[in-house]
């Protein structure tokens, strides 16, 4: 049946009704959300890993500060960051020794890989020291990872991953150097400055406290240190004009017990070494784990460069307590003594490197290989200098008197750029030296590199880098090399030295088997005779080593484990390897 067109329709082509236009506009602006059937709810990514056990045996329950203080008595474990509180990185295990090390072969490998976007993707690096407690290995990675592994098979028991924002203001690399284990918990610091306590059996968080301000440019990279009933952590961010600090949290509750700033406020001791308001941006972060003497009840913790790094004119004075070792009481953080390695630093020579505690001829001593190229031995009861000697071939920034410690500066950054040795990451990067009570010698990974240092005034803006110039290590591979170097602390002299093609930036391990282990930036994991320096064994791990090997045993079998994964602040120590292959594997070696 034919219909007569309505008047409304007839009008439409010439003048559309404003009502219709309005309705159409509303429709264009809001599209209804589809009412499809709900098929799924999200699941944790680990739920899709059928091989993961999901729980670890409750071995960490009985780990206490007292037990860590006696860690040398249980060499099957690696209970704390340096193996023992004294920082010696020495194990009494001797199943693997100079006679049989040539038969060492991989027992298992753990591979983490990287999925999706991460902060600082070009510079993530596997810098951790694994912790081993009665057959369970706890290890942390970049970007918020913690794994509990079966130390005999490498099988993943549980995994935790903190969500790390892409915009964390990390200065140099997306890295984490390890965890601490005590009282059934695993403690670790996230890149965005949370101290997280995980249940060591399940990997679930027990408490979580923020201890740095990312808005101010702070971050966190070090492994916490458990001392008595507190867990100690230090801040990172010395390149952002922060005010560095060390904090102590209660193990059980996560309540903050104390915080000590490494740069004093006006009126506090040391404030006279700063001018005007420069202390507010004075730097002095504390990004490497300290050592501890339970008998003296003193913690020894290094502090980083003053801010801005290269422009000392805006902060005249010695700039205490930057580039120092602080000896403090773990109960309240009160300072007993300090020693400043590089007063008024303008070369970014962070004084954070480890302080190794050892006794010699009845004296309680402390050994420290500083970035400034000098090897210091101090009396650790008083902080008095015993001796300072050079341990790098080329040190041109200045001289330090061997007995008085007096510093004479020779070269400083200039607006045009000055060539100065060592390069800004120093003659020794953070990777740790080791001590062998058998030989009485120290073994250091040495960086032989010079750099160009430029001075340029920086305007401070909170959260933005505050360098006061720029420094870069030489790119020419011929101009850089490394050593594993044995030094006698009784004389301050070298005993032997093994030259490597590129700067050494992997930690050293010594064992009662007469061995010294260390990894190279090109991926070789080496074993040396501790007495002669002879290279006895080598294995290519496939990516540069910038982490810390450890040794432990399970059911009477000794293992040596090392993380392999190149990265970090390569501009400072090996720009010629910026393009080298990256990785994220952990190898465990054993005898057949």
């Amino acid at each position: 049946m034919a219909t007569r067109p309505s008047s409304a329709v007839r009008r439409a082509p010439t003048a559309p009704s404003p009502f219709i236009v309005a309705v159409l506009l509303v429709a264009a602006c809001s599209r209804p959300f589809p009412q499809y059937p709900v098929a799924e709810h999200s699941v944790p990514f680990t739920a899709l890993n059928a091989r993961q056990v999901g729980a670890a045996p409750p071995v960490a329950q009985s780990v206490t500060g007292d037990r860590i203080a006696r860690a040398r008595a249980e060499p099957q474990n690696w209970l704390t960051y340096y193996g023992t509180y004294d920082g010696q990185r020495h194990s009494a295990l001797d199943q693997i020794n100079t006679g049989n090390v040539k038969s060492l072969r991989p027992a298992w490998a753990f591979q983490a890989g990287v999925i999706g976007l991460i902060a600082n993707p070009a510079t993530y690096s596997f810098e951790a020291t694994p912790i081993v407690v009665d057959g369970v290995m706890y290890v942390s990675g970049w970007d918020g990872y913690v794994w509990a592994l079966d130390a005999a098979s490498g099988k993943v028991l549980w995994r935790y991953r903190h969500a790390i924002p892409l915009d964390v203001p990390m200065c140099c690399g997306n890295v984490n150097r390890g965890v601490a284990v005590a009282q059934g918990k695993v403690f670790f610091a996230t890149q965005n400055g949370h101290l997280v306590a995980l249940d060591a059996a399940t990997g679930r968080p027990a408490w979580d406290e923020v201890f740095v301000d990312v808005r101010a440019g702070e971050s966190a990279t070090m492994a916490p240190l458990v001392v008595k009933n507190v867990v100690l952590v230090g801040s990172s961010g010395g390149e952002y004009g922060v005010r560095g600090h060390i904090d102590a949290f209660d193990l059980g509750t996560g309540r903050r017990v104390w915080r000590r700033y490494n740069v004093p406020k006006p009126g506090e001791p040391g404030a006279e070494t700063w001018k005007g308001d420069s202390w507010q941006r004075g730097g002095g972060s504390a990004w490497v784990t300290g050592t501890y003497d339970p008998e003296l009840d003193l913690v020894y913790w290094g502090t980083a460069n003053p801010g801005p790094d290269f422009d000392g004119d805006v902060r005249p004075g010695d700039n205490l307590y930057t580039n120092s070792v602080l000896a403090f009481d773990p109960d309240d953080g009160s300072l007993k003594w300090h020693y400043q390695w590089t007063p008024h630093d303008v070369w970014d020579f962070d004084g954070v490197n480890e302080n190794i505690l050892f006794d010699q001829s009845g004296r309680k001593l402390l050994a420290h290989f500083d970035r400034n190229g000098y090897f210091f031995v101090l009396d650790r009861t008083s902080g008095k200098l015993v001796r300072a000697t050079r341990f790098a071939d080329r040190v041109t920034w200045g001289d330090i008197d061997s007995t008085t410690g007096e510093v004479t500066v020779r070269l400083t950054p200039t607006p045009q750029g000055a060539k100065i040795c060592p390069s800004p990451s120093g003659a020794k990067e953070w990777p740790h030296a080791a001590y062998s009570p058998t030989t009485g010698w120290l073994y250091a990974p040495v960086v032989e590199k010079c750099g160009t240092y430029k001075l340029r005034r920086s305007e401070f803006r909170e959260g933005m880098a505050y360098w006061g110039g720029e420094a870069a290590a030489d790119h020419d591979p011929k101009e850089g090399w490394g050593y594993v170097r044995a030094m006698d602390p009784a004389t301050g002299r070298q005993v032997w030295s093994h030259r490597t093609e590129h700067p050494m930036v992997g930690s050293v391990l010594t064992t009662a088997g007469g061995l010294v282990f260390a990894g190279e930036p090109t991926g070789e994991f080496d074993a040396f005779d501790a007495r002669t320096g002879e290279l006895l064994w080598q294995f290519q791990t496939g990516s540069g080593i910038h982490g810390s090997p450890i040794t432990y045993s399970v059911n009477g079998k000794q293992y040596v484990a090392v993380p392999s994964g190149w990265g970090g602040w390569m501009k400072g120590f090996a720009p010629e390897l910026y393009g080298a292959t990256r990785g994220s594997a952990l190898f465990a070696f054993a005898l057949p």
């Binding site: 309005a22 589809p34 499809y36 999706g116 990312v214 401070f460």
Partner: protein, 189 residues
């Protein structure tokens, strides 16, 4: 007699447009951002964002931004759709006014299977999104900053299925540095 009708119609039109995002673009605050390079980018967008014309991908965050709403239970909530044949999340940026729990409802209107790979404390959350289904995910993000999410299927992320969760907020007072207020970048002091 036609005059009041026309007035009513104009009022209805104005009311409708006030509720429309396009009209909001005319605010001075938005126009101020339109430097010549931004204008060039906006002009270029239609060319880029037609798959298989200029390039095969979509620009990151093309799906726009949405402020997650905070419910009475303190949980932030928002909805994200995957439109047909586009390889994008819509919206692609979710803003949380502060850290906490976020519940997201997804709808896949596309002809492909997708997944959402989401940041969360403890472990990332994974959600499968078969064609023409909905799914939900709940994540905890306890710190200010930018977090990415994406579709881990094939190279959907590279073609445009990357998104951001932007958590606003300050560091807790106890964790801040003890020093006078410092200048912040770009006049934010």
């Amino acid at each position: 007699m036609r005059r009041p009708r026309r007035l009513a119609a104009l009022l209805a039109l104005a009311a409708a447009m006030a509720g429309c995002d396009y009209v909001r673009l005319l605010r001075p605050k938005v126009l101020k951002q339109l430097n010549p390079r931004v204008v060039r980018m906006v002009d270029f967008l239609p060319e880029v964002d037609n798959p298989n014309e200029a390039i095969v991908a979509r620009l990151f965050a093309h799906g726009g931004l949405s402020n997650a709403r905070r419910g009475r239970d303190g949980v932030f909530r928002d909805r994200i759709r995957v439109p047909k044949d586009q390889y994008i999340w819509e919206p692609a940026i979710i803003v949380m006014e502060r850290s906490g729990d976020l519940e997201l409802e997804f709808a896949n209107e596309d002809q492909s299977f997708h997944m959402a790979f989401l940041p969360a404390n403890g472990e990332r959350e994974v959600l499968e999104l078969p064609q023409h289904t909905r799914g939900t995910a709940r994540v905890r993000l306890d710190h200010p900053g930018l977090y990415w999410f994406g579709c881990p299927v094939a190279n959907h992320a590279g073609r445009g299925m990357l998104g951001l969760i932007l958590v606003k907020g300050e560091t807790p007072p106890a964790a801040r540095l003890d020093r006078p207020r410092q200048p912040r970048p770009r006049g934010r002091d």
